[in-house]
Amino acid sequence: MKQKIWLDETDAALDDAARRYTAERYRFDERQRLSVAARRFNPAVWKDLADMGWLGVATSEEAGGLGLRVGSICLLAEAAGRALLTEPLTSAGVVAPYLLARGGDAAQRDALLPRLHAGELRIACLLEPASVRVEAGRLHGRQQVVVDADVADHLLVRSGDGLWLLDASASGVTRQSYPLLDGRGAATLTFDGAEATRLASVGPADIEYALWLAALATAADSHGAMSAAFDLTLDYLKTRRQFGNPLGTYQALQHRAVDMYVALGESRAVLDQAIASLQAGTTDAARDVHAAKALVGESARRVTQEAIQLHGGIGVTDEYAASHYLRRARVNEQLWGSAEQHFMAFANAAPATIA
């Protein structure tokens, strides 16, 4: 059951390129030698991703992208999770281009989309603020932990049903940046009368769809992280010897490895179903996405925790990749609607196809 029902030729080419690029140019051991700051964001990598077309999978061809490709978005996110990629792929490569292409006016699109696609501009998105209000075109309020706002040039901020664009270093914006658990970054944004422009044609449905895209991409990212953690663990079980035998000969450990494998297979199926239904726009799409974000998030936490346990001491160190996958999964759980929020949304969404 290896084939994905949604995979087409463009997906296959992107997937192949993503595997090669991350294996050759984004190696874990080499990145470990970089400083924390250098690991957070690498302009050369970002340019490479743009050149490979990764930043154009959420925008139509007439807007300069490859079309809105849910499958491509997710397979690139999966590669990102696998490689522990810290660059702001979902914010600046998916959500921002999607929303600008959907709801920007001609001037906004012409000014920003080509630069977004080319990797010359990064936009962080605040789509579910607790308390941001707009008065006469000026933003007021504060929001903590806005992912990727630490490396953003511009911001997209929701207030009510509207979406507002502003320069991240505009007057009236205070940005307190900090690292996240897994090496990515975020910022607390304080708006004190910052001037912003509204994206005139963005409606609540567009924002909701952007959130689904981001949530599903994040679930795919977690899937990538947990499959990498599983591969590492399986390899370790086959090579590490204790009491004269490889660890993998002990049934207690075999069964735990199997449980990780089962969780992976299940997570794959849930993701694929959500990708297919979001791409096709079926009535179950929202429920499928909520299920994916909730279930894959929880499985990723469990599998990456198990990966550490099955490794023993080396698993808890910073120099070894296992713990990085756990940290990645924990961060993903909180992004674009927490696993808990999606769980509750799943609970409230009745299935449409069988009733």
Binding site: K238, V262, V270, Q273, A294, L295
Partner: protein, 396 residues
Amino acid sequence: MNIDLLLAENEFRRQVRDYCERELPGEVRQKVLGNLFLTKEDNLRFLRSLAGRGWVAGHWPRQYGGAEWTPLQRFVFEEESMRCGAPWLIPFGVNYVGPVIYTFGSAAQKARFLPPILASEEWWAQGYSEPGAGSDLAGLKTRAVRHGDHYVVTGQKIWTSYAQWADWMFCLVRTSEESRPQQGISFLLIDMTTPGVTVRPIKTMDGCHHVNEVFLDEVRVPVENIVGEEGKGWSYAKFLLSNERILSAETGRSMRQLGHLKALVAGTPSDSVVDRAGFDRRIVQMELKLHALRAFCLAYARSMDPRQPPGVEASIMKIRGSELQQQISEATLDWLGSTAIVYDPADVHGERAISPVGPADASGAIREYLHGRASTIYGGSNEIQRNIISKAELGL
């Protein structure tokens, strides 16, 4: 996703639902919905009602009287019919021995045995496990010694489901001693009326008679009743076991039971659940697990090649499906609270109108819980499934 395929899938689902509502005998359906014990006659009425649509053996090839269902159609039929209150299709004839006979059997065996299976005229039992050979099935010791035109079979089988109704039993027997226990096993078809066959019931904890011991004392079996080659029985048995696992997720049953629990929660107060929000959350967790299991099964059914034996996916479905069933029935008993300790097996045999306390279907729910403890044991225990995945897929 191919939209035509999806529409065809939904259309077939509607047909199955339509059958359950119009053609499945209402009394049988009510018993299933109430989780009561079904008699042989109940099962026969179900099978006869399927025959009109040619659905008794829908997955069989046309030349043997089937409808050549795709794996997806087969899955949809099982899921939707069980969800809508059809009985579990007792598999020993239709799903197990039938495919073994049309795949490995002689022309004479096909002509003799397949039509009565299709017509539900002959019942089959499965003679696999023995007192000393459970999970380690290849350790079986029942011997078949060739004497002229007959094998003389002596030994004991156990956990033989519905042997009390069976006309025939397909049976794994040892025809020779070889270095590997999997070698020297043969696949015999035994007439249950042959002298020397004794069936003794084993009552299970739900108070019902599902399983038996079958004693074989110098039972004479004509040599033409061996399937395939002597000594190759293990490969036929493995073929059969993999067929068995493919439907083991039983998503339709879990959908029905979870629906039942939700209706119970909506309509009957619990005397034991204090934390209602916590209980509701538990239900959603099970719904999410069911969502995942269905996504997995559907993806597998849509992509599988029926000519290839099922892979480890079947083991994954068995593990997840049986665990989920048990979780649902456990939660149901938790909701029933003190009512769930009142149980008289007479209730689930329809010998008493209703249970004396609690909702009318409480006894059925308790029976489902008790009987369901076997689901992680039968068909290759979940531990054996994990061994299979570990070896076949992970290379450990």
